[in-house]
């Protein structure tokens, strides 16, 4: 049963964004299980607990209190347990430095939060339906920032 569901996690300190995110997946016709975390700390303590399931896809906000998305990214990438975990950066801003840094640190894709709900839905559906195991083979700096 579990195989049919895509396990998706989001770490974002903004309640509105978490709401949009959940609503978008509810409206999308994708079998998914979405869990949200209020900040980097709670995300990491969940992931570091070996009893918990590792999600398939993690959406990481960069600007969070206590533990930032960048710190989470570095921590996750340094742990072999999360080798199969695809990471999408999910941020309001898309500065060159952030894009460059997260790319170098091994994130799979960079998503700038859209300002239209329909575009959000489209974006998320594209990211979720991508098979990241294969997509990573063609990973490059130019298509790292998701453009629709």
């Amino acid at each position: 049963m579990a195989e049919n569901y895509v396990k998706i996690a989001l770490a974002d300190d903004d309640p509105d964004d978490r709401l949009f995110f959940k609503e978008a997946f509810e409206e999308l016709k994708i079998k998914s299980k979405v869990s949200t975390f209020n900040d980097g700390d709670t995300l990491m303590s969940y992931l570091n607990n070996e009893n918990n399931e590792i999600p398939d896809l993690l959406f990481l906000d960069l600007n969070m209190p206590r533990k930032s998305g960048l710190e989470c990214l570095v921590e996750i990438k340094s742990n072999d347990r999360f080798n199969d975990l695809a990471i999408a950066i999910y941020s309001t801003s898309a500065t060159e430095e952030d894009i460059e840094y997260t790319f170098v640190k091994g994130a799979n894709i960079y998503i700038k939060k859209p300002n239209d709900f329909n575009i959000l839905k489209k974006t998320l559906s594209q990211v979720v339906t991508t098979n990241w195991q294969f997509a990573n083979n063609g990973l490059n700096r130019d298509n790292f920032l998701l453009r629709l």
Binding site: D17, E23, P114, N115, F117
Partner: protein, 593 residues
């Protein structure tokens, strides 16, 4: 200097030559005086011989007279003087013997003469010794007298010959000497003239040298004056420190720098050091040791306290030199860099302020990019939710209001994006890379393809060379200008954009003439849009300046960004246009050959 050395050599030669000539002259004169005195001696000699001969002859006559007297009178009164006469004759002969020693001919003559004289005397003596009876024999007496008479003639002839001979010798010698002596005045005179010429040459040379020295002195004086002025203008002073006797020689301006009247301090090093800021004293002492040992010591900065207790910043450089007599000196220059140091402080402070401002600005950028965008994004997302979810429960008016809010929010987003773009177009991103402009234009056209497709715009692009630019800024530049060309199109006319390339020299385009660069890439972007009034050509690059506010959407930032990008590349952007005909943007990017 070379001329001077030559002159010195010349003078030496002239002096040596003069000395030599004078010595020769002396020797020559001496020789001539010698000759003259010889001539005088010869004359005296001849005269003495003649005199002696005459005297002897006279004594012979006396003797004969006395002899006759005696013969006639037989009185011994005559006999006595006769004997005296004989003695005198012998004496004269002896004298003559001595006098004629040097002349063989004359000596021989004298020998014959003295033989004759002696034989005459012996004749006379014979008759004297004759007794009365014998004297009575006239033949005997007569014989003696005839003989003596004969001898007497002989003696006279011989004497005359000798005198003549002596005179001849004298004449020959005199003529010999007079020949030499005749030349003497001419030689002496010409030598004198030669010496005078040499002296005059030397004098001329010395005068010339003195004038030369005078000229050099005048020039040196001028240099001294101008170097004093240079010291005043340049705020520096020179000094010489005689290490061995620990005395200083300061230039006048150095005293001014120290803030004291000239010549008010001239004691040793310790007095000087007492004016130096106490925190710098030890370092300066160490530096002085360096100056004494190293050939090229580094510069050193130190502070002094002037008599009014002002702190002054000095920079010093000194080098060790050794004078000809082995004295050690340090020759140095000290500059007053107080103004520079103070300027530096001011600039540093300003830089710090600027850095601080920049930091604030980048914080603002972040706030604008993140914190301002986030609520706006949410407003827009919520609006889109509202539009879809509650479309049916909203009134017509409500839907209209939502539409208005959406467009305002969109406009705000555009403003924020453009402002961010503008503030991010910084010079600090200036990394010029050899870039293929064709690729950039292709990327831009790809990016703008939705609006190109929707308007059916035709875009012609020349072949472009590689340029040294910041690629993403050039990308932005093309986006903004091509976007404008399409945006400000005429209604019902297919937009046409021509992008052409030329290489130009700075002197062919007026605004480029003030540039330091000689060669420029000229990118021209021409459209057939609504154009603009040429009078506004300069205004369109000003931030928030908009020419077509009523009909077209815009922020008035796009062209300002273009201007900033071109400025970053040390280039120029010029706009020209005609209403309802089109606009043309000329971009000039400099490059080096």
């Amino acid at each position: 200097m070379n001329e001077f050395a030559k002159s010195h050599k010349f003078l030496k030669i002239v002096f040596g030559l003069g000395l030599f000539i004078i010595l020769c002259l002396g020797g020559y004169s001496y020789k001539h005086i010698q000759q003259l005195s010889d001539t005088r001696d010869n004359i005296t000699h001849t005269y003495e011989i003649t005199l002696e001969l005459e005297r002897m002859l006279a004594q012979v006559y006396y003797a004969k007279a006395n002899h006759r007297g005696f013969i006639i009178s037989q009185d011994s009164v005559f006999l006595h003087p006769f004997i005296t006469n004989k003695v005198k004759i012998v004496g004269h002969l002896y004298n003559l013997e001595v006098l004629t020693k040097s002349n063989d001919v004359q000596h021989k003559n004298l020998d014959t003469l003295s033989t004759d004289v002696r034989s005459l005397i012996s004749y006379l003596d014979q008759t004297i010794s004759y007794n009365q009876s014998q004297l009575r024999e006239p033949d005997t007496l007569k014989n003696v007298f005839i003989n003596s008479r004969y001898k007497e003639d002989l003696i006279r002839t011989r004497t005359t010959n000798m005198v003549d001979l002596e005179n001849d010798v004298l004449e020959i010698r005199q003529s010999e000497n007079s020949q030499v002596l005749n030349y003497t005045p001419i030689i002496l005179y010409s030598v004198l003239i030669l010496t005078l010429i040499l002296l005059m040459l030397a004098y001329a040379r010395i005068t010339h040298d003195i004038n030369y020295l005078k000229r050099i002195n005048r020039t040196l004086d001028l240099y001294k004056n101008s170097s004093q002025q240079a010291e005043i203008i340049g705020q520096n002073g020179t000094w010489i420190w005689n290490i061995d006797d620990n005395t200083f020689e300061f230039s006048d301006n150095f005293y001014r720098l120290m803030g004291v009247h000239p010549k008010n301090i001239n004691d040793g090093l310790d007095t000087f050091l007492s004016n130096v800021h106490k925190n710098d004293r030890a370092q300066l002492k160490r530096h002085i040791i360096k100056m004494k040992t190293e050939e090229h010591p580094p510069f050193m900065n130190y502070r002094i306290i002037d008599p009014n207790y002002n702190v002054k910043h000095f920079k010093v450089y000194g080098q060790l030199v050794e004078t000809k007599d082995g004295q050690k000196q340090i020759i140095g220059t000290t500059a007053d860099i107080t103004a520079d140091v103070e300027n530096l402080y001011t600039i540093e402070n300003r830089n710090r302020e600027l850095e601080h401002n920049n930091k604030e600005l980048s914080t603002f950028n972040y706030v604008a990019s993140h914190d301002l965008q986030e609520p706006l994004r949410k407003i827009q997302t919520f609006l889109s939710r509202l539009e879809i979810e509650d479309k049916h429960s909203l009134s017509q008016k409500g839907l209209h209001y939502i539409e208005r809010v959406k467009s305002s929010a969109a406009r705000m987003r555009m403003l924020i994006d453009d402002l961010l773009q503008y503030s991010r177009t910084n010079k600090s991103d200036k990394k010029f890379i050899d870039t293929d402009i064709n690729n950039i234009i292709n990327d831009v056209l790809e990016e703008l393809s939705p609006s190109i497709k929707s308007t059916g715009a035709i875009i012609n692009v020349d072949e472009f060379p590689k340029m040294k630019v910041t690629p993403f800024q050039m990308h932005q530049l093309f986006v903004n200008i091509i976007n404008n060309a399409i945006k400000y199109r005429k209604e019902n006319v297919t937009p046409k954009v021509n992008i052409t390339y030329n290489e130009v020299k700075s002197n062919t385009v007026k605004p480029l003439q003030q540039s330091l660069f000689k060669y420029f890439h000229n990118i021209s972007i021409t459209d057939n849009g609504i154009g603009f009034d040429e009078a506004h050509a300069d205004k369109i690059f000003i931030l928030f300046k908009r020419l077509h506010k009523e009909k077209y959407d815009g922020t008035g930032i796009g062209l300002s960004i273009c201007k900033k990008i071109v400025d970053n590349h040390n280039g120029y952007i010029l706009a020209s246009g005609e209403p309802n005909v089109g606009a043309k943007f000329d971009i000039y990017i400099p490059f080096l050959r």
